[in-house]
Symmetry: C3
């Protein structure tokens, strides 16, 4: 029996998440439900896509991911079920899939199940029905009509200007850790073993090395490290939004702020940087 993950801005205070689970379990009693988050900032496609992007592949093949951000059915945002690298994704085609996928999906179906009484609450209605069906091993073809594309949305890419690599802040977590859209592979490719300064809003706080552990620096000190997803992260060892501020609070960083990396020195020279 497949796992079904749930991501939404429904919150945990009201009865909405329970209604979705009741609907799924009524149709697929053995389904294993895992919440990714129900506290995504309301209507924030980018935040939702960040969370799903960083976790979906860690679930087993065959997992069904239900996405309840801006799920309303409109002429421009049909409900779809997508088969992608052995997983299933269900949601409104409002651009979020373009923010999650890095290649073409195997199959895309526009869901044509009757909307029923729950048309204003698709997660409990057609998304739950489609997820229950897939979790029971049902064929994706039964959910609707095959289509061949989905709506595009731009995940802004880092840019390279000479020796300057420019990215931006993608997400700030509840510790105040700052996730950037610069991947380790791009960084190393541009860097060619040169020295570098990671620069951001707050002048005078450049970071000049990548740490392996938070504890590579003293408590309260800033650091950069690779997230488990392989993206650049700026953090404070022992800092949190509750304890006098994580990196985001201390440096005044917000989503979409620019992060610059200046490279200098001789390429491929040996230096004291430990990867």
């Amino acid at each position: 029996m497949a796992i079904i993950t749930l991501t939404s801005d429904l919150g945990l205070r009201d009865h909405y998440v329970a209604a979705v689970k009741a609907s799924i379990l009524s149709q697929s009693p053995q389904a294993i439900l895992v919440d990714i988050s129900h506290e995504v900032r309301s209507f924030d496609l980018h935040a939702a896509s960040f969370l799903i992007r960083n976790v979906w592949q860690q679930f087993p093949l065959g997992t069904v991911h239900v996405i309840g951000i801006n799920p309303e059915l409109t002429a421009r945002t049909p409900h779809v079920a997508i088969h992608y690298l052995g997983h299933y994704f269900i949601g409104a085609d409002n651009g979020i899939f373009a923010l999650i996928f890095e290649q073409e999906p195997e199959e895309i179906f526009e869901i044509t199940l009757p909307q029923g009484d729950d048309w204003t609450f698709p997660m409990k209605g057609v998304f739950a029905t489609a997820a229950a069906h897939l979790s029971r091993g049902g064929a994706i073809e039964f959910l609707g009509q095959r289509v061949h594309s989905f709506n595009q949305a731009l995940l802004p890419a880092p840019s390279l200007e000479g020796d300057l690599l420019k990215g931006h802040v993608e997400y700030i977590d509840h510790y105040g850790n700052v996730y950037c859209n610069i991947s380790k592979s791009l960084f190393e490719q541009v860097r060619k073993k040169r020295r570098f300064n990671i620069l951001y809003k707050r002048v005078g706080f450049a970071i000049t090395k990548i740490s392996n552990y938070y504890t590579d620096v003293v408590e309260g000190e800033r650091l950069a490290m690779w997230s488990t997803g392989g993206r650049l992260m700026i953090a404070i060892n022992g800092g949190t939004t509750m304890h006098g501020g994580g990196a985001a609070g201390l440096f005044g960083l917000e989503v979409d702020d620019v992060i610059r990396i200046e490279f200098y020195g001789d390429p491929n020279s040996e230096d004291d940087f430990q990867d």
Copy 2:
């Protein structure tokens, strides 16, 4: 194996909910536990009853609903297990059942299980034991002594004064959506296809139609629609308490505030209202 739902004001920060789950799983290892909410406002019977009323029937027949609001056993609030429309409800008879049920339950039993060490924490004590028993298919008769009534509590009903239907705000969700105690069936029965103004605290913001979707109005605009439970809901398209305010914040609405609907024009005349 039956589903057991949990509703309480225990919160998610402390170990209390885990203690309840440990107790249930120790006695019914295969039980499927679903949280309705543990963030009900403390001691708020009305909020708890609103959540349960809107979700219990979406669970499969045989589901056991454990209610941990004001659960203390007193002479006036015995612990009871109730069989109602094929579901089971367990809690203290503090009036909440009168707020949930719309007709007479099949069976009511006063729980006479020994209170044990957990008498100050009934959800972990007798409620967990009773729920585990029922979830394993045990007979409700084994839980105690049959009784024939439960404590009454008043869920204030809407009133009709000539062409004016008066209800009140029952619940405000985390988006700031405002739920009223006016049902679609009552509304249509009074309306007789006439035009209407939905009026509330903030003068000059009457709503004159019922929308089917949030997106029937432009972003930031007010609307009325029927909730999935069939009650009148006042909302803002794209508004949330986090983004400059949902309907509750913008219009200063609070639980128990009056909502008035004035009907006018000729009954059963055709008009431009689209249902």
Copy 3:
């Protein structure tokens, strides 16, 4: 299939808890996951140990408890799996086990599994792997190397000075209830049926009896009672941090504040105290 409990400061807003669950379920698809709390104050070993201490023993024998507080692997804080009174505990040996256990554990193993890509996120990495292994009935010996001690940490004990018993505040829950480190057995042993005053920060608010129920005092009144774990708790009947303040807020009590109990009168005299 064993239950796996999770305790951390990962929060519920980000994707971190889902990543841990994905990792466990990929390796042990039938595992039953129960969250103790993911809202422990960041880096707060004492708060985490309080929660686990009060709930672990309520789970069935064989349960695996994964502890994600300060989980980083350092030379002084090895990752360990511990067999204790029929349960398993997994975490970094940062002192937390000394705060949870009251006697010597059966077996301690230093985990020597390869750290893999998740070395910065041990809950998702080796902790998940070790927990999945144990939940499938795997032998603890396979996880690493047997060791014979763990790091000590001091859980400050109450002190007795003549007729004065001094303890401190261990934890404050989301209702504002104040948990002290004074056990019922110590209290009774010192008390010898004498009268007593429970004294704390706010002068003039001594408590002179132990209640059995919140409702033993009128609403809004202070009381002392024994927690389900048998520790002294100071509370307000019907008080919460959201409703004008629980006990912590009203009396200005914080973690580590001193609680004093003065005993007076004749030992073993009968009095009006009802236990």
